[in-house]
Assembly symmetry: C2
Homo-oligomer: 592 residues x 2
């Protein structure tokens, strides 16, 4: 019998005494470790926020009081206390609970959240609406120190400090590091504040006008309850700076905070990863490539925005890059402008970034990078359809970036193509280059690979009637479609579209003369993507066009195989539509 057995909502912890709450904290920690060791997830951030979350729910009255965890990658304790403990304790329920805030799971989750540095702005909006609605409740934003480097966090703090004259409690959960080590002048100030128990005169939060309190005991439930009680109903914005320890309570996570921030399934005793072969080939390929370029003395510099680990850049590896490696912290906008200026000055700047996070930089891409024709290189990781949290979808990058002038977006299919693109991108001075890092086991090009001229596609095999045009990640699917069509007596032309920013006009003009149907397949949202450009270009010709890709919808952890069926992204479904299309066109049955 555990205490958690009887905890189904925050109400249930309000009757417990301190000893009992401490036992609950242990049980929550065990539940978090249970889930993450079995199915993976964020570990260090969640272990560090257990007592803080318990105390928050003990003192405040959610969901009437609104609590927003920035990013919400530290909201597991919150989920456990708000009716979702079974997602942590019972194997059959693991997949019913997502890894981030999710309003469809619980009214205690105020928003879908997954990108950093938004909590203060959102909380300010809740507070402002509360005031206009003449309601009374507390609004609490919990933001990690790492997220404070993101520009929107500053925008929110700057606004809240002066424009709100009512309750807004900003809990700065300071564990002394971001996902990787922190970067930025602000962190010296946080360190100073920690070292002086919050008494230093020079105080970042106070310069903005906030009331400020410091709590050294971020795992001391009694101290936290006292601190929260003191700021409850506080009639103005106030910062509560709480010192916590990332990974608290699991020795390995305490000792290697970066590696355990997020983790694959592991053995609780030994800490050894237990996982299906999740080898990320292109992480290794990319690291090796960049490492070689740097080590051989090329003027290459690699930039990341707080998440080097995602790309396999481990601390010991990136240290060897010295001043040619720059982590800017969580600050993607800055990263793009920085890279743009560096490349304009002769540095071969390479910004490595996840598909979902490049979304933060549309304006910088357009104005600072593309308009200025800076030859910086952006490597986009994780692009494409995936079984992933809805906040971290990789389906939008191609449509977002493919419609910006001057920006050259490539989606390579082959290993040889990828490295040839890197060679070229890092040798030219004319334009910004975006390369979508391929997924999965490397495909090798048959024969000697030669990079097409800029803007040209690559004809893999020549056929007739039907042209199958694929982006990098869709190459395998396209090949399967071709083979299936062949088995039905139609030998299609297969084209590696390669360059996704603009259609290869002369190729399409030729195809329009010689083929009846163009089929585009892309690993991203159809709307605004490559296929639509093909359809538009061929719109006034006799050639028909069918476009395959993801629907313009949000999906949350939907299994990949299910998504493929939903979007008709299987060889059978595509072939069926192609055959049907040809049948309609020719008025005769073909193959089927």
């Amino acid at each position: 019998m555990s205490y958690l057995d009887n905890i189904n909502s925050p109400e249930d912890i309000k009757k417990l005494n301190l000893n009992e709450l401490e036992t609950v904290a242990d049980e929550i920690r065990a539940a978090i470790l249970n889930r993450v060791s079995r199915i993976g997830g964020h570990l260090g951030s969640n272990l560090g926020a257990v007592e803080l979350t318990l105390a928050l729910h003990y003192v405040f009255d959610a969901p009437n009081d609104k609590i927003i965890f920035d990013v919400s990658h530290q909201s597991y304790a919150h989920k456990i206390l708000t009716g979702r403990k079974n997602g942590f304790l019972e194997e059959e329920n693991y997949q019913k609970i997502t890894g981030f805030y999710n309003p469809s799971e619980s009214p205690y989750d105020t928003f879908y959240l997954g990108h950093t540095s938004t909590s203060v702005s959102l909380a300010a909006g809740l507070a402002k609406a509360r005031d206009l609605n003449k309601e009374m409740h507390n609004v609490i934003a919990v933001i990690g120190d790492g997220a404070l480097s993101g520009g929107e966090a500053f925008e929110g703090l700057n606004f809240a400090a002066s424009e709100l004259k009512s309750n807004l409690i900003i809990v700065v959960n300071d564990n002394g590091m971001s996902i990787a080590e922190n970067h930025g002048g602000l962190y010296q100030n946080l360190k100073l504040l920690r070292e002086t128990n919050g008494t230093a005169l020079n105080n970042f939060f106070k310069t903005l006008g906030f009331s400020y309190r410091y709590v050294s005991g971020g795992h001391d439930i009694k101290a936290l309850i006292k601190a929260f009680n003191e700021v409850k109903n506080y009639p103005a914005p106030i910062v509560l700076h709480v010192r916590t320890q990332k990974g608290k309570g699991y020795r390995l996570a305490e000792e290697n905070k970066e590696a355990w921030h997020k983790h694959l399934p592991f053995d609780l005793e030994s800490g050894e990863t237990i996982a299906a072969d999740q080898r990320n080939y292109y992480n290794t390929i990319t690291f090796d490539y960049l490492d070689k370029r740097i080590k051989q003395g090329d003027n290459v510099a690699v930039i990341t925005a707080g998440m080097p680990h995602s790309f396999g850049f481990k601390p010991e590896m990136r240290q060897t890059w010295g001043n040619r490696y720059i982590d800017v912290g969580i600050a993607e906008e800055h990263a793009v402008s920085l890279a743009s200026a560096m490349a304009k000055s002769g540095s071969r700047a390479v910004f490595c970034v996840g598909s979902t996070f490049i979304q933060r930089t549309y304006d910088q891409l357009l104005e600072d990078l593309a308009l200025n024709k800076s030859p910086a290189v952006i490597l986009v990781y994780g692009g494409g359809i995936a079984d992933i949290d809805v906040t971290h979808s990789g389906i939008f990058d191609m449509a977002m970036m493919g419609n910006i002038p001057n920006l050259c977006y490539f989606s390579p299919a082959f290993y040889e193509e990828y490295t040839a693109l890197l060679d070229w991108a890092l040798s030219q001075n004319e334009q910004p280059v975006v390369i979508r890092v391929p997924k999965g086991e490397p495909l090798h090009y048959q024969g000697i690979y030669q990079l097409p001229k800029l803007g040209k596609s690559d004809i893999i095999s020549k056929g007739f009637k039907v042209a199958i045009m694929t982006d990098g990640n869709s190459y395998r699917l396209g090949k399967n479609v071709c083979e299936e069509l062949k088995s039905r007596g139609i030998t299609p032309t297969h084209i590696n579209a390669h360059y996704m920013s603009k259609v290869d006009e002369s190729l399409l003009n030729t195809l329009a003369q010689t083929h009846e149907l163009a089929v585009t397949i892309e690993d991203g949202v159809l709307d605004g993507g490559y296929g639509e450009k093909v359809a538009q270009f061929l719109g006034a010709t006799e050639m028909k066009v069918m476009c395959f890709g993801a629907d313009k919808v949000f999906t949350n952890r939907v299994p990949l195989e299910l998504l493929k069926v939903r979007y008709s992204l299987t060889p059978e479904m595509i072939v069926q539509r192609v055959v049907q299309g040809l049948k309609n066109e020719l008025g005769v049955a073909l193959g089927a």
Copy 2:
């Protein structure tokens, strides 16, 4: 004979003495007033930076030393000193010089610049590349106090303060206001620093780790030269906080800083605006609508991000809105998240923003707003093709926002349609709504306007063979095309596409049965836009599609009529292509 006659590069001012420099400052001021009074432009920001710019060029050695003016809307003195004075003095040369940094005009302009808050990041990139290249020169960013509220400025400052160990001079040009009044806690700290002559212990810049100096005499050339000499070659990032006066030297601009930040042509004596009728009908319509809603006690709140004047929200008008008007300062990301949270809490939040500036918020639109289905309303002003500075183009908003799930983007053509959309958007709770504010003199709907069901287009007139589909701004052009076609014996169907986020599938299916050619016309970039969606949807049908819109290119102050010809956006050019298309299709001559 004036001093300026002999100044063709910054070299020419280095030999002048203080008295002479002061005279040059007067001449620069007169040149700025000359140009702006004749053709309009940024006045207050430029008048405030005259001495500062003179002293910068006196002390530093541009273009070897790199000077970046944030936004560059205060770079007129810089332009005058770097070989472009004729653009300020001679009527025939006014149009040869643009209003912002422009590398194609001069090597002294380091980047195309026009959006705020990027200068520190760009300067940090120049400094970092300099260090990697083992070069030696100064890098100077000049950033106004107003631009400091933008998140990227903080990202840049935070990075520079701790990650750069070399020269980077950040001149904070503090005139005590943004375009409108400043909003944000930071500004209390700047005020404190001004009032204490920079000696206050609590210092925002010092909390980040910067070395810091204060210069009270921002129009005192001697003091400025002394200060710049002291920081020249300084081996670490340093902030030089300079107090200036916006509008300095032109009484009216000093007295009403907001109105004179940017101005239409005016009479120098009286200050009266001399301009062709530039009445902005939809500014008035929108203000009146919002004003009525607020005054009648609806739960409407209006949000702007530092530029209320652009929408005609004058200080005395917005004051009457009380706490239902929120200017967040230059902080668009925050504005979107704030609006999203407010709308989720029952406030009818309306964010008014320029097309070019909504670009800053792609990620917030997607994650905080659209994913959360927050019923906030965004009014996009200034969207579409225009004779405008390249950094402020309004052609991208539709392609950027039209491909985000859940986000409902409307481009109304008629006054009645616009207000009906506002009524509906502010009454529903299901989704975020973006409305592109129409341009020009209001068009009125013939008959009683009824808002189509969500996702449906509106058939204006029924015809045959050809369907002309237009967005709001293209309605007039579409109507002219229809009339021209009629005169050639083809009566087309005219459709007000209305909803730009998704095609009206049932309408298109009907058209595909009954028409031969769909023609889409949109006031924005073709790539990723509405026409491509139509082309994709109809790709596998017999119906042909021709799409008209802007090319995916950057254009800088190109006259509108020229752009229209370049993009085939004239009735004659469209009709010609339509007739040609039908001819090809039917194998017979039609009309022409």
